[in-house]
């Protein structure tokens, strides 16, 4: 099958976007490498503290005028941005594949999810409306208005370089705030492209800023007194111990969406064909590098005797391993490919470490992704095949910690209660899914499980733009979540007015 044309032809020299201008950074420069081909596709600056401070200053200066811009006019800017994104849909998608490694289908899916957030935010006149009540006492009325706060920082992760900052950015801007986006320095090009389009859409200078970089930029935002709040998506140690903690200390609002270890339950009455297809996307989509990935596959024997359970377990695991073993791996721009590489060599090493640990702890390696066959003549630096372990228990490292790679751990549970206990014994609470035809089991699961996103016959529980992206326990720190109405509340202060006229 032919490889789709690459939209990036020569190495890009990335800049920061501050106050409506593209400015070169004085910081050191890092390579952005296409993980499938090993080619350097861009040079990204690691910006300095002065540069982040300048961006905050520009955003702060832009805020008074922007907040006075009528919501309907702000919404129109977002609709223009949405139209531009549609026009550039394919280019934006292929850029993601080049900088991240995911397949073209996955990239297009990510682009669509991102655009949907811009669309929803475009409806800000309705979303931002307050409420009122006449005659709270005789002749006295009370009403609530939502007001923007000022400048917000958005820190994007490497695994969804296009979509994740859009869980926040369009809503922040639509509500009248100004933003500074710091994309992951591993794959910053998508955010550069979005910012170019935001500029073209007529979003005024200083409202939407982008500063490339690493820890200095993050610390600069966290410590800056003029930043009112932070949105972060990334690992639990950074989200909890750095971002959430520091925001608490400096009095900032915070959304910190963090790590996960998601359980997928297969009940005896599940539609096996559909379940396995959904599980392939869940466990191995995005090469397992997503906080909604399935990690632990629990085969549940509710209502079965020992012999029946043994047969059911074998049937599920055989089908799962068989499908996983057929996944075609290679460069994501090859339309035959179903799974791309990991983002970089270090991430592959980390996953390999977990595979070693799984073997040492006594899990049975049923499918070994280390023996990977790649379609095409690509360096195997970042590639790893689907890996499946059996006989994993919740106490094992591979059953507990987030691996963030294409590794599935199969577990056994004799009952739904036991499976739910297993979920609850895990420190994360991002997502959990059940595959069943039984409404009672599904309802019980949805009711009891302590996870923010619940799937019923859905492998990837990714909430649509008009719903919050939830999370619990070690998967989320904050009060309000990204996307939809919740994030509109996050980006606004509720002001109550009580009035009477003499």
């Amino acid at each position: 099958m032919p490889i789709l044309e690459e939209p990036i032809k020569e190495t890009l020299k990335l800049k920061n976007y501050v106050d409506g201008e593209w400015v070169a950074s004085q910081g050191e420069v890092k390579d952005v490498v296409n993980p499938a081909t090993g080619k350097v596709i861009a040079k990204v600056p690691i910006s300095t503290k002065d540069e982040i401070n300048a961006a905050v200053e520009a955003a702060k200066d832009a805020f008074p005028d922007w907040r006075r811009t009528p919501p309907v006019a702000r919404g129109r800017c977002l609709f223009r941005l949405r139209d531009l994104m549609e026009q550039h849909f394919e280019e934006l998608s292929r850029v993601q594949t080049m900088e991240h490694g995911k397949t073209i289908d996955e990239s297009r899916g990510e682009t669509r999810r991102g655009i949907e957030n811009v669309e929803v935010a475009g409806g800000i006149p309705s979303l931002m409306m307050g409420c009122s009540l006449e005659d709270i006492a005789a002749g006295i009325d009370e009403y609530l208005i939502r007001q923007p706060l000022g400048v917000f920082g958005i820190i994007g992760p490497f695994n969804f370089p296009f979509m994740v900052p859009l869980w926040f950015a369009p809503y922040a801007v639509a509500t009248g705030n100004c933003i500074i986006v710091k994309p992951s320095s591993e794959d910053p090009i998508s955010q550069i492209k979005i910012t170019e389009l935001a500029d073209e859409a007529g979003i005024p200078p200083g409202v939407w800023n982008l500063v490339n970089g690493g820890r200095t930029v993050v610390s600069g935002m966290l410590d800056h007194p003029d930043i009112k709040g932070m949105c972060f998506v990334g690992s639990t140690p950074v989200g909890r111990d750095v971002v959430y903690t520091r925001c608490g200390e400096t009095g900032k609002r915070v959304i910190a969406q963090c790590g996960a270890k998601n359980f997928v339950l297969v009940m005896p009455d599940a539609n096996l064909g559909r379940t396995v297809a959904a599980c392939m996307t869940s466990f191995f989509g995005n090469t397992g590098q997503r906080c909604l990935s399935g990690a632990n596959l629990v085969v549940v024997g509710e209502g079965l005797n020992e012999r029946e359970y043994a047969a059911f377990y074998e049937k599920v695991v055989d089908a799962f391993v068989d499908a996983a073993s057929r996944i075609r791996i290679g460069c994501g721009l090859d339309e035959a490919v179903q799974m791309g590489p990991l983002r970089d060599e270090g991430k592959k090493e980390r996953v390999l470490g977990y595979i070693e640990k799984g073997i040492k702890e006594g899990a049975k390696l049923r499918l070994d992704g280390r023996n990977v066959t790649i379609i095409g003549d690509w360096p195997d630096t970042c590639f790893l095949g689907p890996t499946v372990f059996e006989d994993v228990t919740p106490e094992m490292t591979i059953g507990t910690e987030e691996i963030f790679g294409p590794v599935a751990s199969v577990m056994r549970a004799r009952s739904l209660d036991e499976a739910i206990e297993m979920i609850h014994s895990n420190p994360f609470g991002n997502a959990a899914s059940i595959f069943t035809a039984n409404g009672k089991w599904a309802r019980e699961f949805q009711y009891r499980v302590e996870c923010g996103n619940i799937g019923i016959n859905i492998g990837i529980v990714a909430p649509m733009a008009f719903f919050p992206f939830s999370g619990m326990k070690n998967s989320f720190f904050g009060a309000l979540h990204g996307q939809g109405r919740e994030v509109v509340r996050f980006f606004t202060e509720s002001k109550v007015v009580i009035q009477r006229w003499f």
Binding site: R108, G109, A277, E335, I460, A462
Partner: protein, 153 residues
């Protein structure tokens, strides 16, 4: 036989090639056999619309949460390859026969992919089914044109 599984991207690209080559085929036919020019150009126009419509449906429905890379099990696109190059000096009746075969294959393809894509959002299989239906209508029209052409001989 290996249980082939195609990505959604591969299937959508195939739709593009199929509809483009079909449109070109009917445009050539319209040039050569001017008697039914309008009808044949109408088929070409419809094919270009089919491509646009299916591509748009895919792009508007695809999501990172769907089984896009794993939806199309057991399909071999090679089985749906069609001949769209007219032989020099072919009669109108031969050309219409070729067109009917092309439509049969296309209908088969669209019905198969509609069946395979049930795990995607409903709009995707629905888009495939709708094109299958349109091409079914077209096949009936071609058969009627063929009958007339044969009777005219």
């Amino acid at each position: 036989m290996e249980n082939l599984s195609l990505t959604a991207s591969a299937v959508i690209s195939f739709v593009g090639r199929l509809e483009d080559s079909t449109a070109t085929f009917y445009e050539e036919l319209a040039e050569r056999f001017v008697g039914d020019k309008e009808t044949l150009l109408g088929f070409a126009k419809e094919s270009r619309k089919n491509k646009l419509w299916v591509t748009r449906t895919y792009q508007e429905t695809i999501s990172d949460a769907l089984e896009a890379c794993f939806a199309f099990q057991g399909l071999n696109l090679g089985e749906y390859a069609v001949e769209t190059v007219l032989v020099e000096g072919a009669s109108y009746s031969d050309a219409l026969k070729m067109a009917i075969e092309l439509e049969k294959k296309a209908i088969e393809f669209y019905l198969d992919v509609a069946e395979c894509s049930q795990s995607l959002l409903a709009t995707i299989p629905r888009a495939f089914s709708r094109v299958a239906k349109r091409r079914g209508k077209r096949k009936l029209e071609l058969e009627s044109l063929h009958n007339k052409a044969v009777a005219g001989c």
